[in-house]
Amino acid sequence: MADKNIRTVTDVICPFCGTLCDDLEVDIDNKEEKIVEVRNGCQIGTKKYFSSNPSVHRYDKPLIKDNGSYKAISWDEAIDKAADILIKAKRPLLYGFSSTECDAQGKGVELAELLGGILDNTASVCHGPSLLAIQDVGAPTSTLGEYKNRADLVVFWGSNPVHAHPRHLGRYSDFIRGYFRKDGSNDRFIVVVDPRNTHTAQLADMYIQLNPSEDYELINAIRAMLRGVELEGDEISGVPKKIIIELVNALKSCNYGVIFFGMGLTQTLSHHRNIDAAICLVRELNDHTKFLLTPMRGHYNVAGANQVFTWQTGYSYSIDFSRGYPRYNPGEFSSVDLLMRDEIDASLIVASDPASNFPAAAVKNMFKYPLISIEPHHTPTSVNADIILPPAIAGIECEGTAYRMDSVPLRLRKVKDAPGDCLTDKEILERLVEAVKKKKGE
């Protein structure tokens, strides 16, 4: 007989990575309002659910720094003081947004516009180069369901889903049986291109080990070979010519191919030029067969942040409102570059931990100025913030919409109440918008 103290929520969307698995089952203890079991999730997603329970790492009331230590304050006071910091700043940075839901992201846009500040999301430090390349040359892409049903050749280039998207192979790209791929893994040919023989590479049918940061050369060698050019030399990017010929033959002879690319392409020296070349390769492969590509997005709703920012401002990240209208220029208005030039004089960080994820020199400059953190857990960013505003965790403690890595929107479910006085990210940002409007007399 079912335990009356436990309720189960099914078909839960996991708010961890861009795969947005939609089949989780979560058991909650009714009495203590705590998660006691998670089924179907990967190791990381499961941990995210358990870490939402009250603990020493979780904030449950607004805090303000006072003589080196934190003291609890009311929401009204916290919002008032946060609004003061943001209004006083000449060039405030609003950063993060990729681990929250779309309505909160929309409120972030409104606040950034009101303040005349900088608005940026975490694509800035991961797949920003992919967005730049897509703006340059477009992107032949599809949904994960199509790949599951049709793809017979799957390339993971500079991505390691066994570690970063643990259920991707099982749900969409390798082991899963599809409508035209009845025998799952046996009906697919998996290729991994990476400088390291990753755990994903160890599962692959073909592993191409290339020199670090030489992806651009290899992609263009493949493109040349596709056009019938005879390559000079015995190897390109450390890959023997014989292997490149085998790879080209595999790419040309499949029925439906897809490249899933990760930060091995975006964070190396050539950045967006790598993606530009990869997209052109896919376009040219379509002269021979059906071929598509999809970025392996990390944060579960970074794709949503790009969508929301784009439909509200015209641009997907690195946006400056200082002239009263949105301007876009990665390199100039991107968070790390602004911080490296010491141009930011206050930061509001939403659902992100830039102190952990930005280069040290950028963090050093961020810490020089007032810092507000909307963050549920103790992180290197939040423990150095002047004001901490504790949110309910989207997808666990409140509903919302998130976009999967293939830009399919899915509705997040609430499975339990947030601890203490937590408000949702959207409510916090709404209150900040109201406070800023009031103070500015709007």
């Binding site: 990381i44 870490s51 790492h57 390691n160 643990p166 930060m263 020199a361 150095n384």
Partner: protein, 131 residues
């Protein structure tokens, strides 16, 4: 023994992912992301037991992390540090005007530091505030 002319790449690992969801100031996070993975043959040149703290030096900074042997080798001449606060002390912040720093492909040197202290994430980042 010090090894020069290595290439440093930062990467995701499942342990790092689990640790960052479970409390960033924990020892689990240090063990998951405060590490540097070596090719087996490269590691022998260090002439120290596995797990010995090592100092990783690039032109952008230096950091002390625990050494380990890669499960994803061989990759001679290449070392890996999981993405996170430790790696970010030594990555190249230059984005070449595209916004994204160059987190992969820095030239690095490594030397064993048997008595070195590997700080936890919060204490490591706190140094940036004091400095």
């Amino acid at each position: 023994m010090r090894i020069n002319n290595l290439i440093l790449i930062t990467c995701r690992t499942i342990n790092q992912g689990v640790a960052l969801e479970g409390g960033k100031n924990t020892i689990e996070n240090v063990r998951a992301a405060g590490i540097c993975a070596f090719d087996k043959e490269d590691f022998k040149k260090l002439d120290c037991p596995v797990g010995t703290p090592v100092k990783v030096i690039t032109e952008h900074g230096e950091v002390v992390v625990y050494s380990t042997i890669s499960e994803e080798g061989p990759h001679p001449g290449i070392i890996f540090i999981p993405m996170g606060p430790w790696a970010n002390q030594v990555v190249n912040p230059d984005s070449q005007s595209c916004g994204t720093p160059t987190y992969k492909g820095m030239k690095a040197s490594v030397e064993p530091l048997p008595n070195g202290k590997v700080l936890n994430a919060v204490n490591l980042i706190k140094l940036l505030k004091v400095a």
